[in-house]
């Protein structure tokens, strides 16, 4: 059974339909990328999963339908969503942001270990613990978002364009850690990316969206090797 399954999902904002029947699935512990041009519906797909937008069709997490569930309950079921714009609480400190990641957990000892790990991955966050999150650079905010998602101990992470606006070297570092998290914690990842080359390197499978529909899907390696797919949909 796949960990997450979308079946003919339609979604939109008010009278505008953005997703016209998306179906996809993510295996337990896998990395799947969701590609496509601006406006293809990548972000809306993630928002549908965590009930940030009204949807019809069916979305099942671990075999259980997420229909009519509130965002906070979807999250509590084990899905961490790092949204477009990173969702950093800029009114709060770095530490408070991390605390909110772990605030639902009761396994105190393990939480402390996870803190140590987070600070090992991103030492800069340890240095800035007491500072307002608004003082962080874009790259540091993205690190904070990933660190916070790790502290949530999810079974699935939804990452919306983690590379957006960051220097290539920072992107490399963050993707390296995302891969590490995936391997050590067995967390499945649904990765939305504009940078298709990078995403296809990371993921085992990929879906390419075009105006709200799945245009192409398959093993990432196959998509990477298929020149016509690369040219027509991925732009490289």
């Amino acid at each position: 059974m796949p960990l997450l399954e979308l079946e003919a999902v339609h979604a939109g904002y008010g009278p505008t339909t953005v997703l016209h029947g998306i179906s996809l699935s993510i295996p337990e512990g896998g990395i799947v990328s969701l590609l496509g041009a601006n406006g293809a519906g990548k972000t809306t797909t993630l928002r549908a999963i965590t009930s940030g937008v009204r949807w019809s069709g069916d979305i099942r997490f671990s075999g259980r339908s997420l229909k009519r569930m509130h965002t906070e309950d979807v999250v509590r079921a084990g899905i961490a969503h790092v949204p477009e714009g990173r969702g950093i609480l800029t009114e709060l400190t770095v530490d408070e942001n991390l605390k909110l990641g772990a605030h639902l957990r009761s396994d105190g000892a393990q939480v402390r270990k996870d803190y140590d790990r987070v600070f090992e991955y991103f030492p800069v966050l340890k240095e800035r613990r007491k500072l307002s999150a608004s003082t962080l650079s874009g790259g540091e905010q993205q690190m904070l978002a990933v660190a916070r998602a790790l502290l949530m101990r999810p079974r699935l992470m939804l990452l919306d364009e983690p590379s957006l606006g960051l220097a290539p070297i920072v992107v490399r570092a963050i993707f390296e850690i995302i891969r590490t998290i995936n391997q050590t914690d067995h967390v499945a990842i649904l990765l939305v990316e504009q940078n298709a080359r990078l995403a296809l390197e990371m993921s085992s499978d990929a879906y390419v969206l075009e105006v709200g529909r799945v245009a192409v899907s398959g093993a990432s390696a196959d998509l990477r090797g298929n020149e016509s797919v690369r040219r027509s949909y991925l732009g490289y």
């Binding site: 949204p83 969702g87 009114e91 605390k99 605030h103 916070r148």
Partner: protein
């Protein structure tokens, strides 16, 4: 000089009352960008509940916390029943609703307890003590002590507990908080409960001075607005500082400016609002609002 200091002490006592109500306004403003015009009336209603409890033979120090619990529950209920259905309505709609709520609560209090002013007994003895030559009434010191204790408790709750952290997160970033599993709607209800309880403190503290009747809080709420605006309507600490400054200013103006006397104190409060809004619209501790266009 001594008399001046005495006026300052009783100004700080009034300031504690204003600060509590101002803090209630700030809590709700932070949570939903709305000034709750019914805050004063809710505090008055809670004070009547305290009055009734004491009237039925409960000791003051049992009635007081019990009233805060009832006020808390009342605030939560009002949010759930009255505010929640219109949560996403334009802010003007919400303003009208809180104004309507103020009228409703005021009328209900009049209906239940009548409009004849009642003496509300003070738990503090009617005597004075002298500290370093400054004579202060125990009533004033008691009010200062209780207000300070409540404000410190609220501070600890908001800054040093997980629930306080969730409340602040939900207030400033509802969408992002939901994605972290915070039940924002309930946090909002908690905010209303907390505001209602803090407001009740101001009502109970001021009732022995003013006599209890349904319109008791109508001048206090103006001072509380002045305090909140002066401190910066988004800042809890600002509300407290603003409350003390307004309390002392109004008291000194009443005592030393012959044309103000007892009658024009309220005008001083209103003048503070106008001057702050003209000269420093974000208040002492508020941040300028930056909006991306």
């Amino acid at each position: 000089m001594q008399e001046f200091m005495q006026q300052v002490v009783s100004g700080i006592a009034s300031g504690g009352v204003f600060a509590s109500l101002a803090l209630a306004l700030v809590l709700i403003y932070n949570a939903m960008g709305l000034v709750n015009f019914a805050q004063g009336e809710m505090a008055m209603f809670a004070t009547f509940i305290a009055f009734t409890l004491v009237d039925h033979g409960l000791s003051y120090w049992i009635a007081f916390p019990l009233t805060l619990v009832i006020a808390f529950a009342g605030g939560v209920l009002i949010q759930r029943i009255v505010i929640r259905p219109v949560e996403r309505a334009p802010v003007l709609t919400l303003v009208i609703i809180t104004l309507g709520l103020a009228t409703l609560v005021n009328g209900a209090a009049g209906f239940l307890w009548g409009y004849i002013p009642r003496a509300f007994s003070s738990p503090f003895p009617v005597s004075t003590i002298s500290i370093g030559g400054v004579v202060a009434s125990l009533q004033d010191l008691g009010v200062i002590g209780v207000s300070a204790a409540v404000l410190v408790l609220i501070y600890l709750l908001l800054q040093h507990t997980t629930i306080g952290l969730s409340m602040r997160a939900a207030a400033h970033h509802p969408e992002a908080s939901r994605l972290l599993g915070v039940r924002t709607s309930w946090m909002l209800a908690l905010g209303w409960g907390l505001a209602s309880a803090v407001g009740a403190v101001s009502g109970i503290m001021v009732a022995p001075v003013l006599l209890l009747e349904p319109n008791m809080m109508q001048s206090i709420i103006i001072y509380a607005f002045a305090a909140a605006v002066l401190g910066g309507i988004e800042s809890p600490l600002g509300a407290v500082i603003g409350g003390v400054i307004v309390g002392v200013t109004v008291n000194l103006a009443g005592a030393y400016l012959p044309f103000v006397g007892g009658d024009l104190r309220l005008a001083v409060g209103l003048a503070i609002i106008v001057v702050v809004l003209i000269l420093k619209p974000n208040g002492l501790l508020g941040r300028p609002s930056v909006r991306r266009v």
